[in-house]
Subunit: 348 residues, 2 copies
């Protein structure tokens, strides 16, 4: 790679003279010298290295984004929002990593970011309290956590170490169940992928709270499917299909309503139930959580719980950049209110 020293050598001047040209300090310079340097820059195809300059100042204009899988349309939408805000508002580019929720992949990416001089990262993970995240912070990384917040924590006064921005998942689970009950469902279940993830747990707690408030039993209400290794979030719909079969096989009485932990799972469930001859929503009402742009395209279109994704992405990028700029802001937790989007997959 051509660097400033090569230009200086080619033009027969000192490095600081070339630097003066690059920084527009040419008032005192002889025209001949200027011309010779410009010629050398052109001949050698020298491109001033912004990154090398940024490394000196400790400020590389890149953000990392760590998601389980970009194949999940909901994470694609998140990355899309973050990327455009980072670029348009701040001139930052984004480094993307798919981790399949694997610790090893997460660690690898954090180490690479640090060694590239990238000091800011937005994280979607099963838990932000894992050791490798804490280690990265101790090495100077700043971090904003997406959708990893427990509602409980938000109400406690315990010391918060990492910025966290989430939809209120407890409310999302509750809102979904409340809506099914309002529409006359009496026997509802919650369909989820297995695994102890904060946002999942909170959705389940909200769902159960709704049942309790309605005076219904909370026993055996959760139906779990297991993700294959390396499948991660990209094969959620396949797990939904498996769950649909379990629901049919294992229940003498079919449920009349299903809350799916996310839209991709809901779509898989609906697709398979339909194939098995169950009518949606006449026989079973189904509601998802995410409100993907694809939801309008399925038949029936999917009723879902939405988060204000664009507002959340803006706040994440704003806070991360402020931290990178050294602003003294205390880590905080932000909960965004979910809302219901009615479509055709719930019986009226």
């Amino acid at each position: 790679m051509v660097d400033i020293r090569d230009v200086a050598k080619h033009a027969g001047v000192s490095v600081s003279t070339v630097s003066n040209v690059l920084n527009g300090r040419i008032d005192q310079m002889r025209k001949e010298t200027l011309k010779r340097i410009e010629e050398s820059i052109k001949v050698l195809k020298y491109h001033p290295n912004k990154l090398a300059q940024q490394l000196k100042t400790g400020h590389v204009k890149m953000l990392g984004i760590l998601v389980p899988s970009i194949m999940n349309p909901n994470f694609a939408a998140l990355v899309n929002n973050i990327e455009s805000i980072a670029k348009e508002k701040y001139g930052y580019q984004v480094l993307l990593a798919n981790t399949s929720r694997q610790d090893k992949q997460e660690k690898l990416f954090l180490n690479d970011l640090l060694s590239f001089g990238v000091k800011g990262v937005i994280v979607v993970s099963s838990s932000i309290e894992k050791k490798h995240f804490i280690n990265a912070i101790n090495k100077g990384m700043v971090m904003v956590n997406y959708d990893g917040l427990t509602s409980e924590e938000a109400h406690n006064n315990k010391k918060i170490l990492i910025d966290s921005i989430s939809m209120d998942n407890f409310q999302a689970g509750k809102l979904a169940a409340d809506f099914l009950l309002q529409q006359g469902c009496k026997n509802i279940v919650f369909a989820t992928i297995k695994g102890n993830i904060t946002s999942r747990n909170n959705k389940i707690l909200g769902f159960l709270d709704s049942l309790k408030n309605a005076g219904l039993s909370t026993k055996n209400r959760i139906i779990e499917g297991t993700a294959q290794f390396a499948y991660g979030d990209s094969e959620l719909a396949e797990i939904g299909k498996l769950l649909a079969n379990e629901i049919i096989k294992n229940n003498k009485t079919l449920p009349d309503g299903i809350v799916a932990i996310n839209d991709m799972l809901a779509i898989g469930i609906i697709s398979e139930l339909t194939r098995l001859g169950v009518k949606i929503p006449q026989d079973i009402s189904v509601i998802g959580i995410d409100n993907m742009f694809l939801d309008t395209l399925f038949s029936p279109s999917l009723t879902s719980i939405a988060s204000p994704l664009s507002d959340m992405a803006t706040l994440m990028v704003d806070r991360l950049i402020a931290m990178l700029n050294g602003d003294k802001i205390e880590p905080r937790e932000f909960l965004f209110k979910p809302y219901l989007v009615k479509r055709e997959s719930v019986r009226y």
Copy 2:
């Protein structure tokens, strides 16, 4: 940012002594000195900067990927494939840019890559022959173009400047039309988004070639929808819905078959036709091109033309890394053979 000089100063040793520790050259070192340096590294939270080292060697282990929109599930699948191959096979991270097919966004990203010292990029664009791509190459960028190849060019002997890896789009368009005709369709149309893009043009030419071979008229067979500015590829399904309305309004006789330029457009068309009371596939057969993982989830599931995406992604990354390593490989064009995936949206 802490650098190696700070560590040296803190430990009271020379920079080269610290460098020896970082590179494992400690045989000759006094234990005390080693301990003091390790202590300083810990206290100062020093993380050896791989990027600074890489900049010196001209080799930053990052690739750029430039796509119109990650919201298009087909580009999400592409990025997912590229990212995992780059990371697992070569230890490269990826910088992602959504460009909405806007020249301005493409230019901006290329300039940022160059100034970050990132010299390799995989490009999805309406045309690789635009000036800003050529300029970037002249500045030392190496590039692989995805899906921008004309079949004609592949058969000519003209000088190829940029590596190009594509599905054979002419064959894809032909294969889709051939299948509809084989299934008994007599009146088929091609639905597309407006705009002069190489891969689009080739699909259309293949479609028309199939009609000609079957002795059918090629007049008024192309139905075009216009993308809104900044919508890019993320709102393809919406354009599909508009096209469905046009097809209904502007035709005394409805077509009995539709080839959609891609699956998202097909899904939009099917969704809206169904809403308008047209039965798919009984009244109209619909076939898409892409074979998205979502295709199985729609009702009816979508028949589509597939490309060997994973093989294509592997070849792109392999060639790009070889070029970055300075291997003298001539730019070439690679065409991958598409194949038919039968599902429910075409009448048997």
